[in-house]
């Protein structure tokens, strides 16, 4: 027998999620809401979603709200996730950016970086490329709407299960130290990435343009209008020749975006037009 979830509570939780992140709860995710919130409810002794919501209303500093939203988000990530995409970045995208830059400056933005694996993978990759980047200023800016995820990302500490997926053994030996059951990433890598809490639909932490933008497995969760807004912001922070990498199966929306697909590189796009046509976000 299926018991219908308490609809009013789920509706309210969906509204909170949407207001803070722009994500819409799909029908299938509505059913999973209670499952995602169960650990938090158990930890805080809330017998029901209604009790959780009542506590959120009473909570003055907003911490419980943030934790609730965080629990509803999917933070799944892994080191070098979709290895073919990282190979394309290493073998094609970064060398192309290297060749065409005049200022020896490489600026990367990871939008929706979750707990940091994607940004750290790029940092390890740049180290692995060695002398190529000697004398360059390389910056990796990584943002996520969830302060909880950003906190974990900044700490650079990962459980064994996170290390298992995608992280090559040589990178593990080179950059990680075991701490009890966990692994700690080296400061040298940690210091290459600047993590900040920021909403892709209302970005306030970004500055200028980035040569390489990763926005993987993020757009997927937005409804059409929000996806378009996110694409506009991404375009606004790209220049002609910037590369954009999306998740597998994700597509850009909005007729006015400057990106075209790269031949033979799936998930990779390049900004072919100058950004002057995308003025409506300026100011």
């Amino acid at each position: 027998m299926m018991i219908s979830p308490p609809n009013r509570a789920i509706q309210r939780l969906g509204d909170l999620l949407s207001r803070h992140t722009g994500q819409a709860l799909s029908e299938s995710r509505r059913w999973r809401i209670e499952t995602s919130l169960r650990p938090l409810m158990r930890e805080r002794d809330f017998p029901s979603l209604d009790a959780l919501l009542a506590a959120i209303d009473r909570d003055t500093d907003g911490t419980l709200l943030l934790e609730t939203i965080d629990a509803m988000l999917n933070h799944e990530s892994s080191f070098f996730r979709d290895i073919a995409v990282f190979q394309a970045i290493e073998r094609k995208v970064l060398p192309a950016l290297h060749e065409h830059s005049r200022e020896k400056l490489l600026r990367i933005w990871c939008a929706g970086c979750s707990t940091g694996q994607e940004a750290y993978s790029l940092a390890m990759m740049i180290k692995r490329m060695g002398a190529l980047w000697d004398g360059w200023r390389v910056s990796i800016h990584a943002t996520d709407v969830s302060p909880v995820a950003i906190g974990k990302a900044k700490s650079g500490r990962y459980a064994q299960i996170d290390m298992q997926r995608g992280l090559p053994i040589n990178e593990l030996l080179r950059w990680f130290t075991p701490v009890g059951e966990d692994w700690q990433i080296a400061d040298e890598i940690r210091e290459m990435v600047h993590f900040q809490t920021d909403n892709l639909l209302d970005p306030r932490r970004l500055s200028g343009t980035y040569d390489l933008i990763l926005c993987r497995n993020v757009l997927f969760y937005f409804p059409e209008d929000k996806r378009r807004l996110a694409c506009d912001h991404i375009a606004h922070h790209a220049r002609q020749g910037s590369y954009l990498v999306l998740g597998a199966g994700e597509m850009l929306t909005g007729g006015n975006n400057p990106f075209s697909t790269c031949r033979e590189l799936s998930c990779v796009y390049v900004a072919e037009r100058p950004m002057s046509g995308i003025g409506r976000l300026a100011g």
Binding site: Q160, R165, I169, N170, L173
Partner: protein, 121 residues
């Protein structure tokens, strides 16, 4: 179809590994210790070996040492399986010639990602 040799003294682990590897379209053979694995390699070289560390008769480490003594032009890729996450332990395996490692218990995603890293998938 690529060939994977699963080397483990635990029948259960071999069964789990076989199930996963077959679902990833690999052909699977099994050996219960390093000695048996070596004999199988001498008969027909697999593309990749999933190698337990602690086994009776011949350990994973000794198997690796024996295998590298053979100076094969195209040695199989070796993913070693362990229950310990000690760095020294992992480094010893790499020094002996292992290409990747995986912690037990492992699941499909983990094995798949390791096989991708070593270039089998």
């Amino acid at each position: 179809m690529l060939n994977c040799l699963v080397v483990d003294d635990s029948k259960v682990i071999r069964k789990v590994a076989r199930h996963i590897l077959e679902s990833l379209n690999l052909k699977v053979d099994e050996a219960a210790d390093g000695r048996e694995a070596l004999e199988m390699c001498d008969a027909k070289l697999p593309d990749v070996v999933l190698l337990d560390w602690n086994m009776p008769v011949m350990s994973g480490l000794d198997f690796l040492k024996e295998l590298s003594r053979r100076d094969l032009p195209q040695p199989p890729k070796v993913i070693f399986c362990t229950t310990e996450n000690g760095v020294d332990h992992i480094r010893a395996a790499v020094d002996a010639g292992a290409d990747e490692y995986v912690m037990k218990p492992f699941d499909r995603d983990t094995l798949e990602s390791k096989l991708q890293i070593v270039g089998i998938l």
